[in-house]
Symmetry: C2
Subunit: 236 residues, 2 copies
Amino acid sequence: VSGTVAVTVDLVVLSVVDEALAVLVVRRGEPPYAGSWALPGGFVRPGEDLPEAAARELTEETGLSDPIGHLEQLASYGAPGRDPRGHVVTIAYLALVPESEMGAPHAGGDAADAGWQPASRLLSSESERPSAPDHLAFDHARILADGVERARAKLEYTPLAAAFCPAEFTVAELRRVYEIVWGVPLDPRNFHRKVTNATDFLVPTGRTTEGERGRPAQLFRAGSAKLLHPPMLRPD
Amino acid sequence: VSGTVAVTVDLVVLSVVDEALAVLVVRRGEPPYAGSWALPGGFVRPGEDLPEAAARELTEETGLSDPIGHLEQLASYGAPGRDPRGHVVTIAYLALVPESEMGAPHAGGDAADAGWQPASRLLSSESERPSAPDHLAFDHARILADGVERARAKLEYTPLAAAFCPAEFTVAELRRVYEIVWGVPLDPRNFHRKVTNATDFLVPTGRTTEGERGRPAQLFRAGSAKLLHPPMLRPD
DNA sequence: TCAAAAGTGTTGGTTGTACACCCATGA
DNA sequence: TCATGGGTGTACAACCAACACTTTTGA
């Protein structure tokens, strides 16, 4: 156990659920930290690529298949004391997914439970205490904080907000994503102009919503842009 | 060898040497890839933290102590075939250092040689061929490319350019860093105004240069800012 | 006195924000 | 016809690129 260094992957899967930024967590069924919430993840198998291991663990523990939306590497964490089983280096991945198209998570593998939890609750100073009821196992609170921060920053200069939306979505739905992830209100008029002017951010489908209150809204699909020009500026 | 996953750290140490962006590389003394250039790095020891392992390998192989300047995690690479010895996951670190204050590198440990090489040469399409004389070992060309891209991006919105400069430097020296890393000419007048107006980027020391051509320049030290407001915009 | 480099002033175009205003639907 | 949300126009301020111009030194 102490003569070698082991490798795991962990996932920060974020979505917008019930008007709040939520993270996919599993209830650990095995020690250490049995009974605690944790990020889904597990040991990398020899010969297995890292994104492959991340996708496998996600499916095993939560029943969700390859995340539609977006998957990227977040960072690695390797402090010697971070896992009581020995020296374990973890490579964390960040996924942004539309909750509405992922199906309900259900526990499997080593997980006793699986579901969406508001990120704010798992990040609050209350849950920093290791004994708090919703304290995350290992250093997963720090990993989650880094993931949320990365997501917030990337909304500014990439079209990733669309990864939180279903395949077709309105400008107002996209705006709600920004408002929820950033935690600030945005001017609907200026927001509309900015996202529709940004090159290759949105492509109109020609269809509109029906049966809603107010004037029907155009439906869009995500465009091909990987970088936003000009960027969406976050109010200070 | 194939029953486990090993962990290494590798370093992309960048500096500005002889008016060009340069990277610190070592000539491998042991197989695999004996005789090839490679990024400094090596296996993480059990109980050792990742930045600690990075600093140790840098000192062992190049004789340079903890990099003055800046050190941050870059990314992790774990494709099964990237190392012929087995499945090896590496965590890459990016360092930006002032060449003038680091002393000359000298080989040690497993390294047969160590020195600065222009990044452009190691990144050119010529050296992509595995048989080219300056082809980097393993997937280190990819890692280097990611590191250079990270450095270029970070100059825009962080004060990291100062990490390439000695403790005291002039606005013109700082501008040369931007011009060399970005590969574009910048207007000296507008550059001067932007960096001196950015909050907490530069703090004047009161001293000036002497014995140079032209009017003496004020000397500055790096300020406390971690983010640039407003950012330095890279010309398209 | 000239060349060279540091540093300042000014101008015109672009971009972002605030907000007034019009449009299309359900009730 | 009113309330509700979708979408457009416009004015003002901030910002940035371009470049003329002044300052201070070494040769």
